[in-house]
């Protein structure tokens, strides 16, 4: 990761170059180009296969270690969906589990030195965020018809306040996909950039021990963030889905 170089006493810190989308072959990016994005997304898919398919191939009553991890992951998300959205939300479980596994593995794979973090790109997180937004909105209208609009009409509030609250609720509803996606991309990007800055300072002899210690600490924190952001994205998806299935406050 440390590509900061000392040159004539000066230091060169370039925290953003790690996020560059680069083609693996040739030098132009088109839609179907094989790039580092393709590579690391493919690795995330392979990791999902390794855990959820190869890990469970024993189908054992008493699970092996990998099967146990796969079952725990499954149970964790399944219970989250069931607890937050209720029984009727369980048919969206595969969709939510897909998002969770992709974000989790993309985040964790991104922590490998020299790797590329696909979830640090707003383009990626926005597709997922707006995907959730559209799914939730469509499900809300299909399930409840115009009754879904009662989500914005807070019937427990005094009548005079309701139009004001409706405007606020409406704005917050449309901000959801933005905050949903920017939160993930921002957290991942910031953490990686900070690590790169520390790596740059590690080139200066005097502060090197401090910088390296800081990097170790930040790396631990980033590992935590990798899991927490996957969890946050998933549970917010569940909360939005609950609003769509049960819009009445």
């Amino acid at each position: 990761m440390a590509d900061a170089e000392t040159s004539g006493g000066g230091i060169k810190i370039d925290p953003m170059s790690q996020f560059q989308v680069q083609p693996l072959f040739g030098d132009s990016i088109s839609v179907f180009t094989i790039s580092n994005v393709t590579l690391w997304m493919a690795l995330a898919v392979l990791s999902v296969i390794a855990l959820m398919v190869l890990g469970t191939r024993g189908r054992a009553i008493i699970p092996s270690r990998s099967q146990s991890v796969a079952e725990l992951t499954y149970g964790f998300v399944y219970k989250m969906v069931e607890d937050v959205t209720g029984k009727d939300g369980l048919k969206f479980f595969p969709y939510i589990f897909t998002l969770f596994l992709f974000i989790l593995f993309a985040n964790v794979l991104g922590l490998i030195p020299m790797s590329f973090t696909t979830t640090s790109h707003i383009a990626v997180t926005a597709v997922m965020g707006f995907g959730v937004f559209f799914v939730v909105t469509i499900v809300g209208f299909v399930k409840n018809g115009s009754g879904f609009l009662s989500l914005f009409w807070v019937s427990s509030a005094p009548l005079a306040l309701r139009p004001v609250l409706a405007v606020i609720e409406l704005i917050s509803y449309f901000v959801r996909p933005v905050s949903h996606s920017v939160r993930l991309a921002g957290a991942i990007m910031a953490g990686h950039a900070v690590m790169k800055v520390f790596a740059g300072f590690a080139a200066i002899g005097l502060v090197a021990p401090l910088a390296i210690g800081g990097m170790v600490a930040i790396y631990g924190l980033e590992l935590l963030v990798a899991f927490i952001q996957a969890y946050v994205f998933t549970i917010l998806t569940c909360v939005y889905l609950k609003d769509a299935l049960h819009p009445h406050h």
Partner: protein, 176 residues
């Protein structure tokens, strides 16, 4: 945002996140990846894990039921054991009582027999003692009779044998 400071300090590339030219590329591959994961999960992984979990729950439920049944049977067996123990104890007490009674009866019989023997022997002995005394008394009378007769004769008297016998009889009665 690209700033190359002349003194060789920070040099920043613009945010690659905002290079809109790469967006279609990223979105395309993201959708491919998500569809791939979704397809793998729904066709292979999720049914398999759900089946394993259901099977495990079934096994656990069955095992708990079996354990429950075994526990019940153990309780029954313990009850039967307790009952057998109580029965055996009662039986033992009964046998002990019977044996005691039998021994007591035998003992009583033996005692009674011994008592009877003893009293019979005692009676026989008494009879013999009485006989001996009788004969001794008779001997004494004879001796006294003879002695008296001899004494009377020695003193020069003549006495009828009947008188002497009467006198002795009176004397013996007086001492009686």
């Amino acid at each position: 945002m690209a700033t190359d400071t002349p003194d060789g300090g920070l040099s920043l590339t613009p945010m690659p996140q905002l290079e809109f030219a790469t967006f279609p590329h990223q979105v395309f591959w993201l959708i491919v990846a998500l569809v791939a994961i979704y397809f793998i999960l729904t066709t292979i992984a999720l049914p398999r894990i759900a089946a394993v979990l259901a099977e495990r729950n079934g096994t656990i439920t069955n095992d708990i039921a079996a354990a429950e049944e075994l526990k019940l049977r153990a309780a029954e067996a313990e009850k039967a054991y307790e009952k057998a123990l109580a029965d055996a104890r009662a039986e033992a007490q009964k046998i002990a009582g019977e044996t005691r009674d039998a021994i007591k009866a035998q003992l009583d019989e033996a005692t009674a027999k011994a008592d009877a023997d003893i009293s019979a022997k005692a009676a026989e002995s008494e009879a013999r003692i009485a006989e001996i005394r009788e004969s001794a008394m008779a001997s004494v009378r004879d001796v006294a009779n003879d002695t008296t007769g001899a004494l009377v004769a020695a003193l020069g008297g003549a006495a009828e044998a009947g008188d002497i016998a009467d006198a002795l009889e009176a004397e013996l009665k007086g001492r009686g």
